[in-house]
């Protein structure tokens, strides 16, 4: 009888407190948030399907979606891949230019570096590259410790806009801006 009453109490609590924490209309309501240990940046991810890659570290998270071996054209080994990191010794323009050259060398069609406006009002730079069905979106923000970068590699079309939503969730912790653009 005690077990039944416990179960009943838990069921009542479960239903009464269901969804008490987060407003469901928030686009990131079902997402988890990853924070840099030094609060340099943060981003939201949905798990599942996102999972940590083996190369992921506390300061350089790498996450992938739908790992498979067939897709090796970009040496990504998955359908989606994201990584975030910080470059304390580089300015935002230097880092964006380096990434532009990187994707250029990889054979991607890289669009010129453009400015990126976060929905919070922060400004940054964006690099967009494309190769076949692969799409790359990278954003850069200035931080007090240098530059923070967020890169998302997607195979296929982002029909639902989930990749763009996830990209928009990236923000520097102690934000600066594009002062040295």
């Amino acid at each position: 009888m005690r077990l039944f009453s416990r179960i009943r109490e838990w069921m009542i609590l479960l239903f009464l407190c269901s969804g008490c924490g987060v407003d469901g209309t928030d686009p990131f309501a079902l997402f988890d948030t990853w924070h840099h240990p030094d609060n340099l940046f943060s981003f939201a991810y949905l798990s599942p399907p996102w999972m940590h890659h083996g190369d992921s570290t506390d300061t350089h998270p790498v996450m992938v979606v739908q790992v498979y071996d067939e897709l090796t054209e970009g040496n990504m080994g998955s359908r989606m891949r994201l990584e975030a990191w910080s470059q304390p010794d580089m300015a935002i323009r230097e880092l964006s230019a380096e990434r532009y050259r990187f994707w250029k060398r990889a054979g991607y069609q890289v669009s010129p570096v453009v400015s990126y406006l976060h929905f919070d009002g922060m400004e940054g730079l964006e690099v967009v590259a494309r190769f076949s069905a692969h799409h790359v979106h990278e954003v850069f923000f200035r931080c007090h410790a240098g530059t923070v970068a967020f890169s998302m590699w997607v195979h296929g079309d982002d029909r639902n806009g989930d990749a763009a939503l996830l990209l928009s969730s990236f923000r520097p912790g102690r934000c600066g801006g594009a002062d040295d653009l």
């Binding site: 479960l14 239903f15 009464l16 269901s18 969804g19 008490c20 924490g21 987060v22 407003d23 469901g24 209309t25 928030d26 686009p27 309501a29 079902l30 949905l46 599942p48 399907p49 996102w50 979606v65 739908q66 359908r79 989606m80 296929g156 029909r159 639902n160 806009g161 989930d162 990749a163 996830l166």
Partner: protein, 345 residues
Amino acid sequence: MTYEPVETRGVVLRGVLGFLGILLWTVTVSATQVRCPVCHQLFPREVEVCPHDGTDLKILGRVEQRGKSEDGTDTEAADAPEDSTASDPDGTRQGQPVPKYQRHDIGGARKRMDVSPEDDVGDVERRDRLLRLKDARAGWTPPTVDAGSSSDEDHRRRQEALLAEYGTAREQSAADRQRRASQQDLEKERRRRERDALFSAHVPAVSMGSRLFFMGEGDSPGVTPGVEVDANLIRTNVRVGLTSFVGVRHIGNRRDLLFQENIALGIQHPWHLSPFLLFRAGLGVMLSERFGEQNAYLVRTIGVDVGMDCRIGKMLMLSPSIGYTRLAVSAAGWDTVSLKVSVGF
């Protein structure tokens, strides 16, 4: 003309003597009476059966001289009651024995009115005599009694017979009570079925309809139309049912498939228009394509519906309702207002 002398004297004398003899015989015979041994009433000798009790006076009657019995006592004095003067005030019976009983055929109250004249009067009188006297003198023979029987044994037998009769009566009474109880139960069951049938006639057993609510996300309102099937298991003043919902949530280009199974419990007033108030709680699954993969989320729902079942024709019922539903997926919750229209059978 001469007359020859004849011995008229002797003839006359013989005639007179003969007449006297006849007269004396007649007087003697007519003066003889018969007393009934039962009612002690005197009757003329020509009466063969006592009119009071049917006693055969020819055999059992005691012959007495008028005014004297066989033992020489004065019968008239003995038969005459003390109030004979009161019973014969006009003196018409003077010189005659006053009967103890009033004859029914003269003026008494013993005449049986329930016997038709066509019946055998003798037989009727004999049966009447048996009923009244019930002794051997009326010709009734007592039943044969066993030599070994005693009054105690008879008493015991009567007691056993009474107990057996009492037991039989108790069993009969118990059986009657049980029969009445079963009849009452059947009556209650019949009334309950009639009531349920009356209520069920105005509440659909199964209904199918469409529910629309908004489960937004970001800028998208999250329009979620769906099909809902209701099965009402209990349709009295209390309604208990199951509700299955299948819908599609539209978020931009994304389409989430939503399944819900709810238990509905509420009250209603079955009538031609049956309003109801239902509380719903249930579980469900939301299949959502996120980042190119199908993800399943557990959905918990709790809500309330207010509506009305409206009968259309003999078979169909239209049930519009409006409801509030709280949906929860993990830690996220949605407060939704739903509209529902269903057709029931």
